[in-house]
Amino acid sequence: MRYLPLTDGDRSAMLDTIGVSAIDDLFVDVPESARFDGAFDLPDHMAEFEVERRMAALASRNVTTGDVPSFLGAGAYRHHVPASVDHLVQRGEFLTSYTPYQPEISQGTLQALFEFQTMVALITGMDVANASMYDGATSCAEAVLMARRITRRNKAVISGSVHPHYSAVTETQAKYVDIEIDIREPDLDGGEDLAGAIDDGTACVVVQNPGVFGHVRDLSSLAEACHAAGALLVVVVTEAVSLGAVKSPGEMGADIVVAEGQSLGNPQGFGGPHVGLFATRDKYVRQMPGRLAGETEDADGRRGWVLTLSTREQHIRREKATSNICTNSGLCALAFTIHLSLLGEDGFRNLAMLNHARASQLADRLSALGGVEVLPDAFFNEFAVRLAKPAAGVVDTLATRGVLAGVPGARLFGAGNGVDDILLVAASELTREDDMQALCDGLSEVLA
């Protein structure tokens, strides 16, 4: 077995040293009745090439976004990841290290996390960010729990602009700790009245920008309304690239920003692992969940980094911790950091504008089709369209013709929730003229 270094000779020598005659003697604490000596209904070990063959066969049964024109988004986006990103994250020193509990021999991971935290704070327009969460949806849930800790209020209003997976995860995590979650109806026109939903029991309002249907909105007055009522504004961003083109949540008065960082450095990967971003204001940092890298000095006075403020965390505080979270999404955060490092200030803005340009061009083309209505006026790289037929059927039909047309509203919200004729369509820097033409041709035929 190629991964197991011990030979039978080693094993018997080691048993001798231990002073037992057989491996079973080391399992004496396992009660007789609990020992499994039957045969598992599983195959025996395989050669590396046999495993590759089996896995390649499975992979080949997926049509993927690289094979055919794809307009899928809704929280996971297809972007080009520079080759050096994947090379660097596969360096064994990053890939095969643990959480940096021993800072003297973990400065690489710690400095990269410090750079990550800085970049997340900059792009969200916030003061400070943590070292990442599992994904955007779990970040959203943690933001609501944090808002409750800060305000000592127990109601959260979740906008109809928020991705249903995010609101569902938040509702799930809140349900056993007495937080009342008010999820608003899907906000198809981007005009819902959230200020009117705030009262003196509201801990926070959660709103997504760009919204799940694509609307880009100025949240400044909503922030003011929240603050006037003593509530916090939590802003969700499911497409991190949008932060290069759209006014930042920090500029508009957000108190907590949670985002999905997959778009930078990480593949869509059928939905995971992705990386949750979490940023807030300085004054709330001690209520933040998750790991934090901080600057300090070593015994020789050299600058270095450590995990800090860990007295918030479960391994110290146990049941009084701010969260039960232990690990984060370190390697995905590293990929995010490297990709954003390569892009730099201009590259990030240019990438964002290129995404917006492709979406804008796509919207122009789709608007010209019969049976297709583009819903938002202001959007970034994704927007909802209303179709003359149920979107799920249209998407299935186009899939058989080799076009992944987008995400049907019913896929996200469930059928019969007023969004059956809604299709979410996303473009990126990888969207070509031919792809747009294929989508338009397909929709024209199916909707005719």
């Binding site: 095969t96 800085t118 869509q268 692992p273 050299r302 110290i316 390697l331």
Partner: protein
């Protein structure tokens, strides 16, 4: 926020054994500033085409003003992160005996498989007909985990071990609420005092009070103390097995019977499944749920702190409450159940994660499972246990094992052997850094004084264990020879010496700040 960007601080401030160099480099240990400190406006590491004609839809919502990201070319970025990587210790470099973390070899085949375009470029919301291979893979991993644990059901979506705990305890909560037709009146979860901190933290975020059970003198759950706590206020118990002392809990079956008789459920923390995979099916012990850290037992890389994956196997009693989504296999192939409305008779307690879970980790774990097979996995457990017992046997005459008898996959020592030496567990661990080792887990579990928990894993050769043992024995001898000052000063040869964690927490600097902003903040 405080900040200093004085690059001279890469050099030692005080007199030190190290020769001082111009830039603070020491041979192959190369100092590297923050990326923000090598910002060169105008440089870039990515070339993009011009966007062509388009009408902006952003209007007043377009972002104005500088963001503050550094501008750096590709060669500089590659060098920056390569230099950073060289400041990390890693499994690829050497023994990583970090107890309870299962730092085993991470096969590169698994990385290659996760990067197959058929997986990496699949979008989670594609029509199911276009992702049959991905769904079959999830179903395949689920099948292996159910078979290996002897459990009938599984929730695949949790993103880490602690997230799996959340899933299991929420399923318990949902089952109790369902049985009682409203919010359960049961308020307490029993957790042994040797448990990982995530256990009590998880119980708390599910709305339960935590009631600690003491360990007995043998490092196991005190069954009598446990039984005395049982009443109709107890929702369940969370037990790690093998436990954090590296010992199998011999009374699991009795504990299961007692908790079930009392009307509660049995959560098993499967962090240490590596010790028993292929030899014990936890389902045979009577548990109701158990999370499996794919990044431990099934070797998905730890990545400097995630991402992991923590699927949870469930008993028939808890299965109906599993969160969405899950994969079903019907006549038309594989499909996903993503909404409670489509869940039939099941009563999912909700959703724990965006999309369908940590697919990239499922791929890696599947490659690992197929590579080992049922025969290889049993060998994994046996070699992991053998290696830990070998280390314990060869160190027991100079160090102090906390408990008698064989251990499972990790061996626990306490600090009695350091008594009167002036050397603490922490000092001892820091001295190991100079010898080229990542230390064992320290001061955990909390049930013994100055704990040192050593988990070699099955992927260490006898030779590497012998090298490690030689170092440990030498360090013990030096400690006993009265070399306390040298231990207190260790490490001296690492990229950084001991770091001031107190100062870091007292006035936190959590991001880089440009000098002008620092100046403003100081005014």
């Amino acid at each position: 926020m405080n900040h200093s960007r004085d690059l001279s601080r890469n050099r030692p401030a005080a007199a030190s054994a190290d020769p001082e160099t111009v830039h603070g480099h020491r041979g192959l240990q190369l100092e590297e500033p923050l990326l923000f400190e090598i910002d060169n406006p105008g440089a870039t590491g990515v070339d993009l085409p011009a966007p062509g004609e388009f009408t902006s839809r952003l209007g007043t919502m377009e972002r104005r003003g500088g963001i503050g990201l550094p501008s750096v070319s590709e060669p500089e970025v590659v060098r920056h992160f390569t230099r950073l990587s060289q400041k990390n210790y890693a499994i690829d470099m050497g023994t990583y005996p970090l107890g309870s973390c299962t730092m085993k070899h991470n096969p590169r085949l698994n990385e290659k498989m996760a990067r197959l375009p058929g997986f990496a470029a699949a979008h989670p919301l594609q029509p199911e007909s276009t992702v049959q291979g991905a769904l079959e893979l999830i179903d395949g991993v689920a099948g292996w985990l159910k078979e290996l644990t002897g459990m009938p059901a599984i929730a695949m979506s949790p993103g880490a071990g602690a997230h799996g705990e959340l899933c299991g305890v929420m399923a318990i909560r949902a089952a109790l609420d369902d049985r009682e037709g409203g919010p359960t009146t049961r308020r307490r979860i029993l957790v042994p005092d040797s448990a990982h901190g995530t256990n009590p933290a998880t119980a708390a975020v599910c709305g339960f009070a935590v009631d600690a059970i003491p360990s007995d003198g043998r490092g196991r759950v005190d069954v009598k103390a446990f039984a005395d706590k049982l009443d109709d206020d107890v929702a369940g118990i969370m037990i790690t097995n093998p436990n954090t002392c590296g010992l199998f809990e011999p009374d699991m079956v009795e504990i299961a019977e007692l908790i079930h008789e009392a009307g509660g459920y049995f959560y098993c923390d499967g962090a240490n499944f590596n010790a028993i995979v292929g030899r014990v099916r936890p389902g045979d012990l009577g548990i109701d749920c158990m999370h499996i850290n794919l990044h431990k037992t099934f070797s998905t890389p730890h990545g400097g702190g995630g991402p992991g994956a923590g699927p949870v196997v469930l008993s028939d009693a808890l299965a109906p409450f599993a969160p969405v989504p899950w994969v079903v296999h019907g006549e038309d192939g594989f499909a996903l159940v993503e909404h409670a409305d489509d869940a039939g008779d099941a009563k999912p307690f909700g959703r724990l994660k965006g999309f369908h879970g940590q697919m990239g980790m499922f791929i890696r774990a599947y490659a690992y499972m197929l590579s080992h097979g049922r025969d290889g996995l049993r060998q994994v457990a046996e070699d992991a246990v053998l290696n830990a017992n070998y280390v314990m046997a060869r160190l027991s005459d100079v160090m102090t094992p906390s408990f008698e008898g064989p251990c499972m996959h990790e061996c626990l020592f306490d600090d009695r052997f350091l008594k009167d030496t002036g050397v603490s567990t922490l000092d001892f661990a820091k001295a190991m850094l100079d010898e080229g080792y990542h230390p064992m887990t320290m001061y955990f579990p909390l049930v013994v004084h100055g704990a040192m928990l050593i988990e070699p894993t099955e992927t260490e050769s006898k030779r590497s264990l012998d090298d490690f043992i030689a170092v440990m024995r030498d360090l013990v001898a030096r400690a006993k020879d009265g070399d306390a000052e040298a231990f207190a000063a260790a490490p001296t040869t690492t990229p950084r010496r001991r770091l001031d964690e107190t100062a870091a927490a007292r006035s936190p600097v959590l991001r880089w700040t440009p000098e002008d902003r620092t100046a403003e903040a100081a005014e």
